[in-house]
């Protein structure tokens, strides 16, 4: 870890927090409750604050430079394209289900399901952003 820059350590911490909180939520539990979504958001915030505080405390040089900013932009670009692609896919699936009459927007359970799918897209885009930044750091850019 000594050869990693502050930003890189911070990104690894973010990725760990995202995986620890999001993966169990999406794969181990049913995601049909607003309380669970709220608990997950609070959980990720608390875990991020703890991890980032520890990293900041144990890293003397917290300098970020032009390369860090460039990598950050690349990460956001990758995250944006992922989110846009998932949204298009989601809209296409929505249209498909509507066209064959399998869509019942009036039920509360369906609304919650949409919220969960939308949140899932954000999560995947966020993980993609972090992963893309880490790959850029490992490749030296």
């Amino acid at each position: 870890m000594a050869s990693l820059s502050y930003r890189e350590k911070s990104l690894y911490a973010s990725l760990i927090a995202e995986v620890v909180i999001y993966v169990p939520y999406f794969f181990l539990h049913g995601h049909d409750s607003v309380v669970k979504v709220a608990a997950m958001i609070i959980g990720i915030i608390i875990l991020q604050v703890i991890l980032q505080t520890v990293i900041a405390a144990y890293t003397r040089n917290r300098l970020t430079d032009e390369r860090d900013r460039l990598i950050e932009l690349r990460g956001y670009r990758a995250g944006y394209f992922t989110f846009a692609s998932l949204m298009l896919l989601g809209l296409a699936l929505l249209w498909f289900h509507a066209s064959i009459g399998h869509l019942h927007l009036d039920s509360a359970r369906m609304s919650l399901h949409f919220l969960s799918v939308f949140f899932g897209m954000l999560v995947i885009a966020d993980i993609t952003k972090t992963a893309a930044q880490l790959i850029a750091y490992r490749r030296a850019l």
Partner: protein, 71 residues
């Protein structure tokens, strides 16, 4: 071959300057100096001038451009 190459490693070694010393003088991280030395990252013009200034050479002595190199 990369389009922009540099002699930073040789110039730095001749001055017995560490990567961290150069990074501190230029205002970048040590990882960025490593990336520049390995020709994996082309710095901005401002950083390139700062590197040349820190090594006490001109920009051309420090960085070379090969138009046939890969970008």
């Amino acid at each position: 071959m990369p389009a922009i190459r540099n002699q930073i490693r040789e110039l730095r070694a001749a001055r017995e300057m560490t990567q961290q010393d150069l990074a501190d003088q230029v205002g970048v991280t040590r990882q960025t100096v490593i990336a520049i030395e390995q020709d994996k990252y082309s710095p901005s013009l401002e950083t390139a001038f700062k590197v040349a200034l820190a090594l006490g050479v001109t920009l051309e002595q420090c960085f070379q451009f090969d138009p046939r190199g890969r970008r």
